[in-house]
């Protein structure tokens, strides 16, 4: 054990930092990806918009 702690604690801090970097890199690389909505999803959203408009009218 070093004066800064044993290997287990040092690894825990190191892995936490590596995970943080992994998440930041993943977020940066995929920042503009995944925005495409399938036609089915768009259709579903449209039908919900109509349903919500109907509900709002009801309210």
């Amino acid at each position: 054990m070093s004066k800064y702690g044993d290997l287990s604690v040092i690894l825990a801090i190191l892995f936490s930092l590596i995970s943080l970097v992994l998440c930041i890199v993943y977020g940066a690389l995929n920042w503009n990806k995944g925005g495409n909505i399938s036609p089915e999803e768009a259709q579903k959203e449209q039908s919900w918009d109509k349903e919500e408009a109907h509900i709002s009218a009801e309210l």
């Binding site: 004066k3 800064y4 892995f15 995970s19 998440c23 993943y26 977020g27 919500e52």
Partner: protein
Amino acid sequence: MNYTVLIIIILIYLTVIAYLGYRGYTASKSSSDYMLAGRNTHPFIMAMSYGATFISTSAIVGFGGVASLYGMSLMWLCFANIFVGIFIAFVFYGKRTRLMGLNLDAHTFPELMGRRFDSRFIQLFAGLMIFIFMPIYAAAVLIGAARIIESFLGVPYELSVLVFSVLVGGYVIMGGLRSVMYSDAIQGSLIFIGMITLLIYTYTKLGGVFEAHSSLTQLANAIPENIKNSGVFSWTSSPQTGSSLWWVIYSSLVLGVGLGVLSQPQLAVRFMTVKSNKELNRAVAIGALFIFATVGTTYLVGPLSNVFFFEKYGHIAFEAAGKNLDRVIPVFIGETMPIWFVYLFMMVILSAAMSTLSSQYHAIGTAISRDIIEYGIFKKKKIKETTIVLLTRCGILVSLIVTIILSLELGGGIIARATAIFFGLMASCFLAPYTLLLFWKKITAKGAISGILGGFFVSLFCFLFLHGKEAGVFGLCKALTGSETLLPGMWAVVDPIVFALPASALLTFFVSLFTSVHNENTVEKAFKGIIQEKY
């Protein structure tokens, strides 16, 4: 402390929250708005809401206090919170949960599970689990907030519990999930700023990172004898492998909370509030930064507070806090930080408690209205939209009352344990079925029900007969066998999740293997667009 300044700051803060509550109210027209914030949440709001819901007074006050006594090995929980709680949760669980929730038109976590299997029982059971057990976790959060208000403002504990919970309940009842998420974003930002400031200030005051850790290592002789006997010989090292505290840290805290986060209903529902995977991709980076700043700070500052107290008073943090772990962080802040930071920290704690508590009230309220009443009792009969929203508001009111009663009844030092119990129980019951329903078309309703009930009953058996802390309280084992727990020694400190989660996973998998899927159409509908999803 200048109480006038503090009260003015709190009033400004509450005015902002009230305004956001009103904004949520005006934007919530339907049950989809009220339960899922209209499924078009901004990625920053979603990430901060997820983080602020995840991180509560339990993490900052409860786990900070625990870290002050058990040491920095809790940083393994920080790693689990980031890698499992953010990366795995968003990238692998979040995207499928979002699309499957959309395909099945699910509004709550129990509804997602129920609709995936066309099983009213699963939805009703999951709703009941949330209704019965989440108030314990909510009470832990409320206790943390009330203790802080009591410490800093001198307001009696009972009055703090009452006023704080009514304030939070007010804006949740008014604006539903929109209000919750709008205010979460503001509260999350405050928490982030406060915790980063605390981390920098602590290390600066202790002479830098290496000097601080070196000073803490040299304090090994100050560790109380009972803690040494339990396996902790240094606050900068892991407990002795196999010792009682090794099991507490790695089975209850790291495994229970670290894995349990994946099947938290109030967090899983966040994935269903965004429009596309782009929001989830962006939220990964924002969420990880937030989690590192909050839990990383807590698990580092908790142990380091011992250096402060030892240099100033000659005794450790636990003793400085009157031997109540839940008071370590508040006392540390009050004793060592400048007055402006005490004001900021007060806002941080209020924010951490409000953001988590509001989501818990919302989750319990929707479980009562959507999962128990609408689908469990009325069996999907067409109920008017206005009635659903009204039922949810009544459900939130019920959860508020139950939480207040529990907060007044539970004892001191309970925050971290109550949180670990809820996280562990939800993981034991739902993690295996939830994981398999997202990734495996062959999972059957019978398999999922076996896994859920198996996890629940194994957990219950452990709480009653094996795990010392709960078995001692219930007293059933002692009444039947004469001893506090069935198994001696180390087994009494092994968390129930160690037994219950594998049991649930094996039951779910093998029962599904030997039974057939009866709802192929629903399965195809659920997986529509998922298989070709670009990761």
